[in-house]
């Protein structure tokens, strides 16, 4: 399955990644190769086999609804590029909520 340059451009935009035109061309061929590699799986006959929803054969893992301490605000905010000690600060987001 080949990938078009436009598709790669769109995926990059959705992932908020910025590339030069040369990089986009290179990525288009690289991503195409990856898809081709994975595509080999379609050679398998999967007729009558139930699709798998999860790689691990584990189900029904739950935790009890009992509160545990959250992280202190000053600790949790340490990684933020910008904050005022109370809120994270991000460039103005206009329009809807």
């Amino acid at each position: 399955m080949a990938l078009s340059l436009e598709e790669v451009r769109k995926v990059a935009l959705l992932a908020r990644l910025q590339f030069t035109e040369e990089e986009l061309v290179e990525l288009t061929s690289q991503m195409g190769d990856i898809l081709k590699y994975v595509d080999q799986l379609s050679e398998l006959d999967t007729e009558g086999i139930e699709p798998m929803a999860h790689a691990a054969e584990v189900q029904n893992v739950f935790a009890d609804d009992i509160q545990q301490p959250s992280l202190p605000r000053e600790v949790i905010m340490e990684n933020a590029p910008k904050h005022d000690g109370k809120y994270y600060r991000v460039p103005a987001v206009l329009g809807d909520e």
């Binding site: 929803a53 999860h54 189900q59 029904n60 893992v61 009992i66 959250s70 109370k86 809807d96």
Partner: protein, 502 residues
């Protein structure tokens, strides 16, 4: 754009030139102590960013674990909405970037939601619309995003982000586009909220964001021989059921006007999102998120699927309380109530229903109990801002008063005074009556009183003799002044008898 408003009488006659098609998406916050995938508190109103941890702010490597109670409440709600529970369900990542979604994806459910295909019966005892079943497409369990505080004034300053809400468990309940008027939309929401309240799965507080509604609206228009549909618009930002009603009505008129002007129909425009502006009472176009519909769902690798057996579903079903629709019907059957009265009682919640039923059983008259419940009990309850469980005048004590009225020991008007004193001083009905000096007025005393009144009011006697029986009403007030314990009906009867006897 100037809108030609259709007046409401036209709407009542069903002569609108179009039919509305309304579907509702309701997000309810499930009543848990902790978030869906971590054990941070979900308590409303905390200091910003004090209820977060590596899981809910999306730190790499942090792993989500499903909250048992949230899952239980979701299954319970789905069963109450008659929704089928598939034996297998899984969660998916819904990818989009927004500053209040630090992970870059919401954990939601795409193709295998935990429930599909149910219904909710809605009705209006006042007759605003006909009873109907609204289909429920699906209900699924997902986590909420955080809160953005925009700089409304200049729009230039930073947006502030509070992530306390991030990860709060939400049940999204999606209806079929089965509603065809703003009244039906409101009816659906009211009934859904009542059901959720009876189930005790959510606080349903719109102000605190624990219940949110989006509406999908479009029109079916008969244009000569062809039927056309206007493009679907999703209306957001409605902060009350009343606002939903108004927004939907406004949106229908707007779409009709736009269609008249442009002729654009469904399929010729992408789905649009509009926000309800409550102060201006209009909907406004919202800026679309770029490629918003391209969420690139894929199975959430960090969460296990959930499976459920028929036996487990049955045991969930066994925990369901009696639901509002069933209680309404039962009250009408057991106590001979009309649909309107049954509805008022059920709308008070489980506590109100319990109170009413005990009162009706103890006094033996469902209609009388319903009148007292709706007028006196509800008024006192509202005045004292208390709950049925805390209300000091419990039904067994009140029933004594209703029985006294039935036995004509006290008339209804006077009984209202007794109710007041029973409540204020914590008395039984008999004590209350004694407190107010209410005792049976014996026949001879009543007769003497009436004779005296007739002598003092010869004009009344003349009027009655010339056929104006209602003239005797003037005497009742005087009789009550002379003796507050007299029964107005009896005064009337004795006076008329005396006049007739000459």
């Amino acid at each position: 754009m100037k809108l030609k408003m259709t007046d409401s009488t036209e709407q009542k006659n069903g002569s609108l030139p179009y039919e509305m098609i309304i579907g509702l998406e309701v997000h309810v916050q499930l009543k848990t102590e902790t978030k869906l995938f971590c054990r941070c508190s979900t308590k409303f109103g905390a200091e910003p960013n004090t209820q977060t941890c590596p899981v809910c702010i999306g730190m790499p490597g942090a792993l989500p674990v499903m909250n048992r109670r949230a899952y239980d409440l979701a299954i319970k709600t789905a069963l109450a909405l008659d929704i089928g529970i598939p034996h297998f369900t899984k969660w998916d990542r819904k990818n989009y970037y927004y500053p209040d979604l630090p992970r870059g994806y919401q954990i939601s459910q795409f193709d295998l939601p935990l429930s599909e295909g149910g219904k909710l019966e809605i009705s209006d005892p006042k007759g605003g619309f006909k009873t109907k079943n609204v289909g429920i497409t699906r209900a699924h369990l997902e986590d909420d995003a955080g809160k953005s505080l925009h700089d409304e004034a200049s729009g230039k300053a930073d947006t502030r982000i509070d992530l306390n809400r991030t990860g709060t468990p939400l049940l999204e309940i999606v209806s079929e586009p089965d509603m065809s008027s703003p009244q039906e939309a409101k009816g659906y929401l009211t009934e859904l909220k009542l059901l959720l309240t009876y189930l005790e799965v959510s606080d349903c507080n719109m102000q605190e964001g624990s219940l949110r509604v989006d509406a999908n609206v479009n029109l079916k228009i008969q244009n000569g021989n062809e039927t056309v549909y206007t493009p679907i618009v999703e209306v957001k930002n409605m902060n009350s059921f009343r606002a939903v009603e108004r927004a939907v009505a406004y949106e229908a008129k707007r779409q009709y006007t736009v269609w008249q002007e442009t002729g654009l129909v469904k399929g010729q425009l992408p789905k649009q999102t509009r926000g309800w502006d409550d102060s201006a009472q209009i909907t406004r176009a919202q800026r679309e998120k770029e490629d918003a519909s391209d969420y690139r769902y894929f199975p959430e690798p960090d969460l296990c699927p959930a499976v459920i057996t028929e036996e487990e579903i049955a045991s969930y079903r066994a925990t369901l309380p009696e639901l509002p629709g069933a209680i309404r019907k039962r009250l009408q059957g057991d106590f001979d109530l009309n649909p309107y009265d049954a509805d008022v009682i059920v709308n008070q919640g489980q506590g109100g229903v319990d109170y009413y039923e005990e009162l009706a059983k103890e006094c033996g008259d469902g209609k009388q109990a319903s009148n007292w419940f709706q007028q006196d009990v509800l008024r006192k309850l509202n005045e004292s801002e208390t709950t049925f469980a805390e209300f000091s005048l419990q039904p067994s004590r009140l029933a004594g008063l209703l029985l006294a009225v039935q036995k004509k020991e006290v008339d209804t008007t006077r009984a209202k005074d007794v109710f007041g004193v029973m409540y204020e001083k914590n008395l039984t009905a008999q004590e209350g009556m004694k407190e107010l000096g209410i005792e049976q007025v014996d026949t001879s005393a009543l007769s003497d009183l009436c004779k005296m009144l007739l002598e003092k009011n010869p004009q009344v006697v003349e009027d009655v003799k010339s056929g104006k029986k209602q003239a005797v009403g003037a005497l009742i007030g005087q009789a009550k002044k002379a003796n507050p314990n007299v029964n107005p009906g009896e005064v009337r009867k004795v006076c008329l008898d005396l006049i007739e006897q000459g």
